[in-house]
């Protein structure tokens, strides 16, 4: 199927937790085959390994900036007319996005750029991330001297208030 072996959770040892179950006589014929379990279990969920903190992060790219050592990265783009926020994977695929270009957000704002827009965009982004199951996000792709400016700090405040943690847990190596 062409799946990267790291994508599966290939499990080996099967230990049966020993407890007696209450036997139901009418379904005993049906459920007798339930006990047959394959020794190797494969989980196809692509988000499983990163949610268990076992997936690989791209640790190279040490001579360039921004680095790609993350599972999900929060990127804020402030253009002349709009503010956009993206949560993307290290291969560049956007998972969740929010922008003041969308009508749902634009209609409630006086101006689609500026500090107030950034703050509200942060709140909306946090809500969408939590709905998508993304609780930890890497926010290091901000230029250091721009991190101090009001709009980015308000955006960060909005995201934190929404409940998303702005640093990713360390990968479990052993």
């Amino acid at each position: 199927m062409g799946l990267n072996p790291e994508q599966w959770v290939t499990c080996l040892s099967v230990r049966f937790a020993s407890t007696t179950a209450s036997l139901k006589t009418e379904t005993e014929v049906d459920t007798s085959e339930n006990e047959v379990v394959a020794p190797n279990f494969t989980n196809r969920n692509p988000r499983n390994l990163e949610q268990m903190a076992l997936a690989r992060k791209e640790r190279g790219w040490k001579t360039t900036w921004p680095k790609r050592e993350f599972w999900h990265r929060l990127r804020l783009e402030r253009t002349q007319h709009y503010v956009e926020a993206f949560v993307e994977r290290s291969n560049g695929d956007v998972v969740v996005s929010a922008s003041t270009r969308e009508w749902a957000i634009k209609r409630h704002l006086y101006s689609p750029k500026g500090v107030a827009a950034c703050r509200n965009l942060g709140r909306v982004m946090a809500q969408r991330c939590l709905e998508a199951g993304i609780n930890f996000v890497d926010f290091k792709a901000i230029i250091p001297w721009e991190r101090r400016c009001d709009s980015i700090q308000e955006f960060e405040k909005g995201v934190k208030e929404g409940g998303v943690v702005l640093h990713e847990p360390r990968r479990i190596y052993r």
Binding site: F16, A21, D30, T42, N45, N48, N91, L109, R128, G133
Partner: protein, 378 residues
């Protein structure tokens, strides 16, 4: 590193020892596409527009990094090439765009004239109502965002073998707990098996007289085969949005992700039927706790009924083991609970060389079959 002459390299390959140079250019040919920065006029650098700020340069660099290129990159090597996806969903209903734009422009003009909004924006006190924003989002760009998240969670790849659809119908699924607390299911959030032990309250907008099918499947949890799913709930021929009035082909089974297997996806699919369909082949007996009968393939199910129904709504959640799963295995499924352990893939080592250069003593440990480390024993 100077590339060796073609003749010297050929001599090496034909006769005795071969060349060990990394970049042996066997044949020089023209590049397969335009080189980057080819359009920059190097003779007249003063006339070029400068970036003048790092932020502008970074935005340009990130955009250029996302563009497709003709040379081999790590991204192309790891990601499979995107195949053209078949669209199996409902056709989009496009309302009058001109009227919509006129209405939106009117609202924006009113906002600009509103002094209170201007003051709130200037003093940075404005807080937009998130639930109204979400309601409007569900109507406008919600389906596209949900499709994007579902694609990244591998829903279309595993259920429909690549064919995707846009969930135009907003499916609202909520699990109610004992203390009147509601746990909603969005597109990928975490729900525990104890919260999902009873059937949820499902609601969606439906015209009177339309028929729907609701399906809950788990593509990750199969204990025997990796490619098939478990059917947890199937309700068919639902009139309007009244789930109780629909015919329950397979009763609700609470989620049972085994311990140690991590997070499983549980996907709610809502199909719009064109007319009443006979699902007697997919009917399961009333209390069905046999995993063999619950083994299911959404692809085959949809292929059987694809002329009469189309997928219209999507919601899924991620679920991990907790204590209620043990009671599900023991009481409902009448089996001993399987427990799994994560096994890491073995680390890759290049083929062993007789005289390794600049390698420590533990080089030998990497290729020995037994575990006898030479490091850390003193």
């Amino acid at each position: 590193m100077v590339a060796p002459l073609l003749s010297t390299a050929l001599r090496g390959a034909r006769g005795g020892r071969s060349f060990g140079t990394a970049a042996v250019l066997w044949k020089r040919a023209a590049p397969l596409g335009p080189m980057p920065n080819e359009d920059v006029d190097v003779g007249n650098l003063e006339a070029l527009q400068r970036y003048r700020s790092f932020a502008r340069y970074l935005r340009q660099a990130e955009r250029a990094g996302r563009e497709p290129c003709w040379w081999n990159t790590y991204r192309k090597h790891t990601d499979p090439p995107a195949e053209p996806q078949a669209d199996i969903g409902l056709p989009r209903e496009r309302l009058s765009r001109a009227k919509e734009l006129k209405e939106r422009k009117r609202i924006l003009r009113e906002n600009h004239r509103n002094a209170e909004m201007e003051r709130a924006a200037r003093l940075r006190t404005v807080l937009i109502p998130l639930d109204e924003v979400r309601a409007e989002w569900e109507r406008t760009s919600g389906p596209f965002h949900k499709q994007r998240v579902a694609k990244h969670c591998g829903v279309f790849r595993d259920l429909f073998k690549g064919a995707a659809f846009t969930p135009w119908v907003a499916l609202r699924v909520q699990y109610s707990q004992e203390d009147e607390h509601l746990v909603p299911v969005y597109y990928g959030n975490m729900v525990t098996p104890s919260e999902a032990s009873s059937p949820p309250a499902v609601s969606y907008e439906a015209d009177k007289g339309s028929l729907w099918t609701l399906l809950l499947t788990n593509p990750d949890g199969h204990l025997r085969e990796a490619d098939s799913e478990y059917l947890h709930w199937l309700v068919t021929n639902i009139p309007g949005s009244d789930i109780q009035a629909g015919k329950e082909m397979c009763h609700y089974l609470p989620p049972f992700p085994a311990m140690g297997t991590g997070y499983h996806r549980f996907i709610f699919l809502l199909f719009k039927q064109q007319g009443p369909i006979d699902f007697s082949q997919d009917a399961r007996p009333a209390p069905c706790y046999s995993l063999k009968m619950r083994t299911f393939s959404t692809f085959d199910f949809y292929r059987k009924h694809k002329d009469a129904m189309t997928p219209a709504g999507l919601a899924f959640f991620q679920c991990q083991w907790d204590n209620s799963v043990t009671s599900t295995f023991h009481q409902l499924l009448n089996m001993r609970e399987p427990v799994f352990e994560f096994v890491r893939p073995p680390p890759y080592h290049p083929p062993q060389v007789k005289f390794p250069r600049h390698q420590p003593l533990r080089y030998l440990d990497r290729y020995r079959d037994t575990q006898e480390p030479t490091y850390g024993i003193y």
